[in-house]
Homo-oligomer: 215 residues x 2
Protein backbone atom coordinates (compact mmCIF):
# COMPACT_ATOMS: atom_id res chain seq x y z
CA UNK A 1 0.00 0.00 0.00
CA UNK A 2 1.53 3.30 -1.02
CA UNK A 3 1.68 6.09 1.54
CA UNK A 4 -1.12 8.68 1.44
CA UNK A 5 -0.08 12.14 0.24
CA UNK A 6 -0.93 15.37 2.02
CA UNK A 7 -2.91 18.06 0.20
CA UNK A 8 -3.58 21.61 1.37
CA UNK A 9 -6.90 23.09 0.27
CA UNK A 10 -6.44 26.81 -0.23
CA UNK A 11 -9.91 28.07 0.60
CA UNK A 12 -9.00 31.70 1.13
CA UNK A 13 -10.88 34.56 -0.50
CA UNK A 14 -7.82 36.58 -1.49
CA UNK A 15 -4.68 35.65 -3.43
CA UNK A 16 -2.19 37.08 -0.89
CA UNK A 17 -3.69 34.94 1.88
CA UNK A 18 -3.31 31.87 -0.34
CA UNK A 19 0.32 32.73 -1.05
CA UNK A 20 1.04 33.29 2.63
CA UNK A 21 -0.24 29.73 3.14
CA UNK A 22 1.80 28.23 0.30
CA UNK A 23 4.99 30.01 1.39
CA UNK A 24 4.70 28.21 4.74
CA UNK A 25 3.36 24.92 3.41
CA UNK A 26 4.53 24.20 -0.14
CA UNK A 27 7.69 22.40 0.99
CA UNK A 28 5.72 20.28 3.48
CA UNK A 29 2.78 19.07 1.38
CA UNK A 30 2.42 17.04 -1.83
CA UNK A 31 -0.54 18.75 -3.45
CA UNK A 32 -1.63 22.42 -3.60
CA UNK A 33 -5.38 22.69 -4.07
CA UNK A 34 -6.97 25.86 -5.40
CA UNK A 35 -10.22 25.69 -3.47
CA UNK A 36 -13.56 26.29 -5.13
CA UNK A 37 -14.06 29.40 -3.00
CA UNK A 38 -10.74 30.91 -4.10
CA UNK A 39 -11.41 30.12 -7.72
CA UNK A 40 -14.93 31.63 -7.58
CA UNK A 41 -13.59 34.69 -5.81
CA UNK A 42 -10.45 35.35 -7.88
CA UNK A 43 -10.71 33.34 -11.07
CA UNK A 44 -8.40 30.75 -12.57
CA UNK A 45 -5.36 33.03 -12.78
CA UNK A 46 -4.54 31.78 -9.29
CA UNK A 47 -3.64 28.47 -10.98
CA UNK A 48 -1.11 30.24 -13.19
CA UNK A 49 0.25 32.16 -10.21
CA UNK A 50 0.83 28.96 -8.24
CA UNK A 51 2.36 27.20 -11.27
CA UNK A 52 4.78 30.11 -11.70
CA UNK A 53 5.81 29.86 -8.05
CA UNK A 54 5.80 26.07 -7.73
CA UNK A 55 6.74 24.59 -11.10
CA UNK A 56 7.12 21.02 -9.81
CA UNK A 57 4.19 20.67 -7.43
CA UNK A 58 0.91 18.87 -8.07
CA UNK A 59 -1.71 21.62 -8.41
CA UNK A 60 -5.40 20.76 -8.19
CA UNK A 61 -8.10 23.11 -9.41
CA UNK A 62 -11.15 22.20 -7.34
CA UNK A 63 -13.78 23.51 -9.73
CA UNK A 64 -16.48 20.88 -9.08
CA UNK A 65 -17.41 21.35 -12.75
CA UNK A 66 -20.91 20.28 -13.74
CA UNK A 67 -20.97 21.19 -17.43
CA UNK A 68 -18.91 22.53 -20.31
CA UNK A 69 -16.15 20.04 -19.53
CA UNK A 70 -13.93 20.95 -22.45
CA UNK A 71 -13.95 24.71 -21.87
CA UNK A 72 -13.57 24.54 -18.13
CA UNK A 73 -10.75 22.00 -18.32
CA UNK A 74 -8.93 24.05 -20.94
CA UNK A 75 -9.12 27.11 -18.64
CA UNK A 76 -7.32 25.41 -15.78
CA UNK A 77 -5.01 22.93 -17.55
CA UNK A 78 -3.72 25.61 -19.92
CA UNK A 79 -2.75 27.63 -16.82
CA UNK A 80 -0.83 24.76 -15.30
CA UNK A 81 -3.21 22.60 -13.28
CA UNK A 82 -2.23 18.96 -12.78
CA UNK A 83 -5.70 17.79 -11.75
CA UNK A 84 -9.17 19.30 -11.72
CA UNK A 85 -12.43 18.16 -10.13
CA UNK A 86 -15.89 17.53 -11.53
CA UNK A 87 -18.97 17.11 -9.38
CA UNK A 88 -20.42 13.61 -9.11
CA UNK A 89 -23.78 14.62 -10.58
CA UNK A 90 -22.17 16.03 -13.73
CA UNK A 91 -23.28 14.28 -16.92
CA UNK A 92 -20.90 11.53 -18.05
CA UNK A 93 -20.34 13.56 -21.23
CA UNK A 94 -18.93 16.40 -19.12
CA UNK A 95 -16.59 14.06 -17.26
CA UNK A 96 -15.37 12.50 -20.51
CA UNK A 97 -14.84 15.90 -22.12
CA UNK A 98 -12.84 17.19 -19.14
CA UNK A 99 -10.77 13.98 -19.04
CA UNK A 100 -9.90 14.28 -22.73
CA UNK A 101 -8.48 17.76 -22.15
CA UNK A 102 -6.70 16.61 -18.99
CA UNK A 103 -4.97 13.78 -20.86
CA UNK A 104 -3.78 16.22 -23.51
CA UNK A 105 -1.92 18.03 -20.73
CA UNK A 106 -0.82 14.77 -18.98
CA UNK A 107 -3.26 15.70 -16.21
CA UNK A 108 -6.19 13.94 -14.59
CA UNK A 109 -9.76 14.54 -13.42
CA UNK A 110 -11.09 13.74 -9.96
CA UNK A 111 -14.77 13.26 -9.10
CA UNK A 112 -16.01 15.05 -5.98
CA UNK A 113 -18.53 12.88 -4.17
CA UNK A 114 -21.38 14.93 -2.72
CA UNK A 115 -24.93 13.96 -1.88
CA UNK A 116 -26.64 10.89 -3.30
CA UNK A 117 -24.18 9.29 -5.72
CA UNK A 118 -24.45 5.54 -6.25
CA UNK A 119 -22.03 2.67 -6.83
CA UNK A 120 -23.78 2.07 -10.16
CA UNK A 121 -22.65 5.55 -11.21
CA UNK A 122 -19.18 4.73 -9.89
CA UNK A 123 -18.99 1.66 -12.17
CA UNK A 124 -19.81 3.93 -15.09
CA UNK A 125 -17.10 6.43 -14.07
CA UNK A 126 -14.52 3.62 -14.24
CA UNK A 127 -15.85 2.53 -17.63
CA UNK A 128 -15.34 6.00 -19.09
CA UNK A 129 -11.84 6.22 -17.65
CA UNK A 130 -12.16 8.19 -14.42
CA UNK A 131 -10.13 6.60 -11.65
CA UNK A 132 -9.85 9.27 -8.93
CA UNK A 133 -12.57 10.24 -6.47
CA UNK A 134 -12.66 12.57 -3.48
CA UNK A 135 -14.70 11.34 -0.57
CA UNK A 136 -16.06 14.36 1.16
CA UNK A 137 -17.59 15.18 4.44
CA UNK A 138 -18.86 18.54 3.21
CA UNK A 139 -18.18 21.73 5.09
CA UNK A 140 -21.86 22.40 5.65
CA UNK A 141 -22.45 18.78 6.68
CA UNK A 142 -19.51 19.19 9.07
CA UNK A 143 -20.99 22.39 10.51
CA UNK A 144 -24.31 20.53 10.84
CA UNK A 145 -22.51 18.12 13.18
CA UNK A 146 -22.09 15.11 10.86
CA UNK A 147 -19.15 12.95 12.03
CA UNK A 148 -16.87 10.48 10.27
CA UNK A 149 -18.31 7.03 10.84
CA UNK A 150 -18.23 3.38 9.79
CA UNK A 151 -20.63 4.13 6.93
CA UNK A 152 -18.06 6.53 5.45
CA UNK A 153 -15.23 4.03 5.93
CA UNK A 154 -17.21 1.22 4.29
CA UNK A 155 -17.87 3.38 1.22
CA UNK A 156 -14.25 4.49 0.99
CA UNK A 157 -13.07 0.85 1.26
CA UNK A 158 -15.51 -0.24 -1.45
CA UNK A 159 -14.41 2.55 -3.80
CA UNK A 160 -10.77 1.53 -3.29
CA UNK A 161 -11.65 -2.13 -3.94
CA UNK A 162 -13.40 -1.11 -7.17
CA UNK A 163 -10.11 0.36 -8.32
CA UNK A 164 -10.47 4.05 -7.50
CA UNK A 165 -7.74 6.18 -6.01
CA UNK A 166 -9.64 7.80 -3.14
CA UNK A 167 -8.75 11.10 -1.53
CA UNK A 168 -10.43 12.03 1.73
CA UNK A 169 -11.42 15.40 3.13
CA UNK A 170 -13.66 17.18 5.59
CA UNK A 171 -12.50 18.70 8.87
CA UNK A 172 -9.54 16.30 9.22
CA UNK A 173 -6.95 16.61 11.97
CA UNK A 174 -3.84 14.42 12.45
CA UNK A 175 -5.55 12.43 15.20
CA UNK A 176 -8.40 11.53 12.79
CA UNK A 177 -6.17 9.69 10.33
CA UNK A 178 -5.87 6.50 12.36
CA UNK A 179 -9.50 5.56 11.59
CA UNK A 180 -8.55 5.28 7.89
CA UNK A 181 -5.71 2.83 8.68
CA UNK A 182 -5.65 -0.12 6.28
CA UNK A 183 -7.31 1.85 3.47
CA UNK A 184 -5.10 2.93 0.53
CA UNK A 185 -5.99 6.63 0.73
CA UNK A 186 -4.52 8.68 -2.14
CA UNK A 187 -4.41 12.08 -0.40
CA UNK A 188 -5.55 13.42 2.91
CA UNK A 189 -6.84 16.94 2.35
CA UNK A 190 -6.87 19.66 4.99
CA UNK A 191 -7.43 23.38 4.73
CA UNK A 192 -7.76 25.57 7.77
CA UNK A 193 -6.25 22.85 10.00
CA UNK A 194 -3.04 23.55 8.07
CA UNK A 195 -2.94 27.19 7.04
CA UNK A 196 -4.75 28.61 10.06
CA UNK A 197 -2.51 26.69 12.49
CA UNK A 198 -0.18 28.76 14.69
CA UNK A 199 2.69 27.02 12.90
CA UNK A 200 1.42 25.76 9.53
CA UNK A 201 4.63 23.89 8.63
CA UNK A 202 4.55 22.07 11.99
CA UNK A 203 0.87 21.24 11.46
CA UNK A 204 1.79 19.67 8.11
CA UNK A 205 4.57 17.69 9.78
CA UNK A 206 2.07 16.45 12.37
CA UNK A 207 -0.14 15.16 9.54
CA UNK A 208 2.89 13.53 7.89
CA UNK A 209 3.89 11.91 11.17
CA UNK A 210 0.39 10.44 11.57
CA UNK A 211 0.58 9.15 7.99
CA UNK A 212 4.01 7.60 8.61
CA UNK A 213 2.77 6.03 11.82
CA UNK A 214 -0.28 4.34 10.28
CA UNK A 215 0.84 3.56 6.70
CA UNK B 1 -49.79 32.69 -16.30
CA UNK B 2 -47.10 35.34 -16.14
CA UNK B 3 -44.93 35.88 -19.17
CA UNK B 4 -41.53 34.12 -19.21
CA UNK B 5 -38.52 36.42 -18.85
CA UNK B 6 -35.46 36.32 -21.11
CA UNK B 7 -32.04 35.68 -19.58
CA UNK B 8 -28.68 35.97 -21.32
CA UNK B 9 -26.00 33.56 -20.09
CA UNK B 10 -22.63 35.27 -20.39
CA UNK B 11 -20.38 32.28 -20.97
CA UNK B 12 -17.40 34.17 -22.30
CA UNK B 13 -13.87 33.64 -21.03
CA UNK B 14 -12.91 37.33 -20.86
CA UNK B 15 -14.59 40.32 -19.24
CA UNK B 16 -14.47 42.60 -22.33
CA UNK B 17 -16.32 39.99 -24.39
CA UNK B 18 -19.00 39.80 -21.69
CA UNK B 19 -19.36 43.59 -21.67
CA UNK B 20 -19.60 43.71 -25.45
CA UNK B 21 -22.52 41.30 -25.07
CA UNK B 22 -24.23 43.27 -22.30
CA UNK B 23 -23.84 46.59 -24.15
CA UNK B 24 -25.87 45.09 -27.00
CA UNK B 25 -28.29 43.06 -24.88
CA UNK B 26 -28.88 44.61 -21.46
CA UNK B 27 -31.78 46.75 -22.65
CA UNK B 28 -33.41 43.76 -24.37
CA UNK B 29 -33.25 41.06 -21.70
CA UNK B 30 -34.55 40.70 -18.14
CA UNK B 31 -31.70 38.81 -16.48
CA UNK B 32 -27.91 39.00 -16.91
CA UNK B 33 -26.30 35.69 -16.00
CA UNK B 34 -22.62 35.49 -15.09
CA UNK B 35 -21.92 32.03 -16.51
CA UNK B 36 -19.99 29.44 -14.56
CA UNK B 37 -17.22 29.56 -17.16
CA UNK B 38 -16.82 33.32 -16.84
CA UNK B 39 -16.82 33.16 -13.06
CA UNK B 40 -14.23 30.33 -13.03
CA UNK B 41 -12.08 32.21 -15.52
CA UNK B 42 -12.27 35.72 -14.07
CA UNK B 43 -13.62 35.47 -10.54
CA UNK B 44 -16.60 37.08 -8.90
CA UNK B 45 -15.50 40.68 -9.54
CA UNK B 46 -17.43 40.37 -12.81
CA UNK B 47 -20.59 40.47 -10.65
CA UNK B 48 -19.51 43.82 -9.18
CA UNK B 49 -18.60 45.10 -12.64
CA UNK B 50 -22.05 44.26 -14.01
CA UNK B 51 -23.79 45.70 -10.94
CA UNK B 52 -21.87 48.96 -11.42
CA UNK B 53 -22.96 49.13 -15.05
CA UNK B 54 -26.52 47.84 -14.62
CA UNK B 55 -27.77 48.91 -11.19
CA UNK B 56 -31.38 47.88 -11.80
CA UNK B 57 -31.02 44.59 -13.65
CA UNK B 58 -31.47 41.09 -12.21
CA UNK B 59 -27.97 39.60 -12.08
CA UNK B 60 -27.53 35.86 -11.61
CA UNK B 61 -24.23 34.33 -10.52
CA UNK B 62 -24.32 30.81 -11.94
CA UNK B 63 -21.86 29.23 -9.51
CA UNK B 64 -23.45 25.78 -9.26
CA UNK B 65 -22.19 25.78 -5.69
CA UNK B 66 -21.84 22.38 -4.02
CA UNK B 67 -20.48 23.32 -0.62
CA UNK B 68 -19.55 26.21 1.65
CA UNK B 69 -22.92 27.84 1.00
CA UNK B 70 -22.44 30.76 3.36
CA UNK B 71 -19.02 31.82 2.07
CA UNK B 72 -19.82 31.39 -1.58
CA UNK B 73 -23.13 33.24 -1.29
CA UNK B 74 -21.49 36.08 0.62
CA UNK B 75 -18.90 36.43 -2.18
CA UNK B 76 -21.50 37.03 -4.88
CA UNK B 77 -24.36 38.72 -3.00
CA UNK B 78 -21.98 41.21 -1.39
CA UNK B 79 -20.87 42.16 -4.92
CA UNK B 80 -24.40 42.76 -6.10
CA UNK B 81 -25.86 39.46 -7.33
CA UNK B 82 -29.65 39.11 -7.24
CA UNK B 83 -29.68 35.33 -7.55
CA UNK B 84 -27.09 32.57 -7.39
CA UNK B 85 -27.24 28.88 -8.27
CA UNK B 86 -26.42 25.74 -6.32
CA UNK B 87 -26.05 22.31 -7.89
CA UNK B 88 -28.83 19.81 -7.28
CA UNK B 89 -26.54 17.29 -5.60
CA UNK B 90 -25.34 19.86 -3.03
CA UNK B 91 -26.15 18.90 0.56
CA UNK B 92 -29.39 20.45 1.86
CA UNK B 93 -27.26 22.22 4.49
CA UNK B 94 -25.40 24.02 1.69
CA UNK B 95 -28.63 25.10 0.02
CA UNK B 96 -30.04 26.37 3.30
CA UNK B 97 -26.84 28.24 4.14
CA UNK B 98 -26.76 29.93 0.73
CA UNK B 99 -30.45 30.82 0.97
CA UNK B 100 -29.98 32.44 4.39
CA UNK B 101 -27.32 34.75 2.95
CA UNK B 102 -29.43 35.43 -0.15
CA UNK B 103 -32.40 36.50 1.98
CA UNK B 104 -30.18 38.89 3.93
CA UNK B 105 -29.53 40.66 0.61
CA UNK B 106 -33.16 40.31 -0.61
CA UNK B 107 -31.84 37.79 -3.13
CA UNK B 108 -32.68 34.20 -3.98
CA UNK B 109 -31.05 30.84 -4.73
CA UNK B 110 -31.83 28.68 -7.76
CA UNK B 111 -31.12 24.95 -7.99
CA UNK B 112 -29.45 23.76 -11.20
CA UNK B 113 -30.83 20.39 -12.20
CA UNK B 114 -28.15 18.11 -13.62
CA UNK B 115 -27.93 14.34 -13.75
CA UNK B 116 -29.99 12.06 -11.54
CA UNK B 117 -32.00 14.31 -9.22
CA UNK B 118 -35.33 12.96 -7.95
CA UNK B 119 -38.74 14.41 -7.17
CA UNK B 120 -38.25 13.24 -3.57
CA UNK B 121 -35.25 15.59 -3.38
CA UNK B 122 -37.39 18.31 -4.98
CA UNK B 123 -39.99 17.95 -2.20
CA UNK B 124 -37.22 18.47 0.32
CA UNK B 125 -35.97 21.57 -1.53
CA UNK B 126 -39.43 23.12 -1.17
CA UNK B 127 -39.53 22.19 2.51
CA UNK B 128 -36.29 24.06 3.19
CA UNK B 129 -37.50 27.10 1.28
CA UNK B 130 -35.99 26.81 -2.20
CA UNK B 131 -38.54 27.63 -4.86
CA UNK B 132 -36.53 28.22 -8.05
CA UNK B 133 -35.02 25.53 -10.27
CA UNK B 134 -33.25 25.60 -13.61
CA UNK B 135 -34.07 22.74 -15.93
CA UNK B 136 -31.04 22.11 -18.01
CA UNK B 137 -30.22 20.32 -21.15
CA UNK B 138 -26.48 20.46 -20.46
CA UNK B 139 -24.00 21.74 -22.98
CA UNK B 140 -22.19 18.42 -23.17
CA UNK B 141 -25.49 16.53 -23.39
CA UNK B 142 -26.45 18.93 -26.20
CA UNK B 143 -23.16 18.28 -28.01
CA UNK B 144 -23.79 14.55 -27.51
CA UNK B 145 -26.99 15.01 -29.55
CA UNK B 146 -29.60 14.90 -26.77
CA UNK B 147 -32.78 16.71 -27.89
CA UNK B 148 -35.62 18.38 -26.01
CA UNK B 149 -38.40 15.83 -25.68
CA UNK B 150 -41.67 14.92 -23.97
CA UNK B 151 -39.74 13.49 -21.00
CA UNK B 152 -38.22 16.94 -20.39
CA UNK B 153 -41.57 18.67 -20.75
CA UNK B 154 -43.27 16.26 -18.33
CA UNK B 155 -40.62 16.92 -15.68
CA UNK B 156 -40.82 20.69 -16.18
CA UNK B 157 -44.62 20.57 -15.88
CA UNK B 158 -44.42 18.49 -12.72
CA UNK B 159 -41.90 20.86 -11.13
CA UNK B 160 -44.18 23.80 -11.92
CA UNK B 161 -47.17 21.96 -10.46
CA UNK B 162 -45.20 21.27 -7.28
CA UNK B 163 -44.80 25.03 -6.89
CA UNK B 164 -41.37 25.71 -8.36
CA UNK B 165 -40.54 28.63 -10.57
CA UNK B 166 -38.78 26.82 -13.42
CA UNK B 167 -36.23 28.39 -15.76
CA UNK B 168 -35.25 26.49 -18.87
CA UNK B 169 -31.97 26.36 -20.75
CA UNK B 170 -29.88 24.37 -23.19
CA UNK B 171 -29.31 25.31 -26.82
CA UNK B 172 -32.61 27.23 -27.11
CA UNK B 173 -33.61 29.19 -30.18
CA UNK B 174 -36.77 31.29 -30.65
CA UNK B 175 -38.41 28.54 -32.69
CA UNK B 176 -37.92 26.08 -29.80
CA UNK B 177 -40.06 28.04 -27.35
CA UNK B 178 -43.41 26.89 -28.75
CA UNK B 179 -42.92 23.39 -27.32
CA UNK B 180 -43.00 24.89 -23.80
CA UNK B 181 -46.36 26.60 -24.47
CA UNK B 182 -48.79 26.19 -21.58
CA UNK B 183 -46.00 25.81 -19.01
CA UNK B 184 -45.37 28.78 -16.66
CA UNK B 185 -41.65 29.09 -17.47
CA UNK B 186 -39.87 31.66 -15.26
CA UNK B 187 -36.98 32.50 -17.63
CA UNK B 188 -35.81 31.23 -20.96
CA UNK B 189 -32.02 31.26 -20.92
CA UNK B 190 -29.85 31.59 -24.01
CA UNK B 191 -26.16 32.30 -24.40
CA UNK B 192 -24.42 32.10 -27.74
CA UNK B 193 -27.78 32.20 -29.57
CA UNK B 194 -27.98 35.78 -28.28
CA UNK B 195 -24.50 37.23 -28.00
CA UNK B 196 -22.98 35.43 -30.96
CA UNK B 197 -25.86 36.41 -33.26
CA UNK B 198 -25.03 38.80 -36.10
CA UNK B 199 -27.41 41.27 -34.44
CA UNK B 200 -27.67 40.34 -30.73
CA UNK B 201 -30.40 42.90 -29.94
CA UNK B 202 -32.52 41.61 -32.83
CA UNK B 203 -31.94 38.02 -31.65
CA UNK B 204 -33.26 39.03 -28.22
CA UNK B 205 -36.28 40.66 -29.83
CA UNK B 206 -36.92 37.45 -31.77
CA UNK B 207 -36.98 35.54 -28.48
CA UNK B 208 -39.31 38.15 -26.96
CA UNK B 209 -41.60 37.93 -29.96
CA UNK B 210 -41.80 34.14 -29.60
CA UNK B 211 -42.58 34.58 -25.89
CA UNK B 212 -45.30 37.15 -26.64
CA UNK B 213 -46.75 34.88 -29.30
CA UNK B 214 -47.05 31.81 -27.07
CA UNK B 215 -47.66 33.29 -23.61
Amino acid sequence: MSKPMLQVALDTLEIPAALKATRALAAEVDVLEVGTILCYAQGAKIVAILRALYPDQIILADLKAADAGTTVAEIVFSQGATWMTVICCAPYATMEAALAVAKKYQGDVQIELYGDWTFEQAEKWLEIGLTQVIYHRGRDAEFAGQKWGEADLAKIRKLAEMGFEVSVTGGLNPQDLEIFKGIPVKCFIAGRALYQADDPAQAARDFKQAINQHW
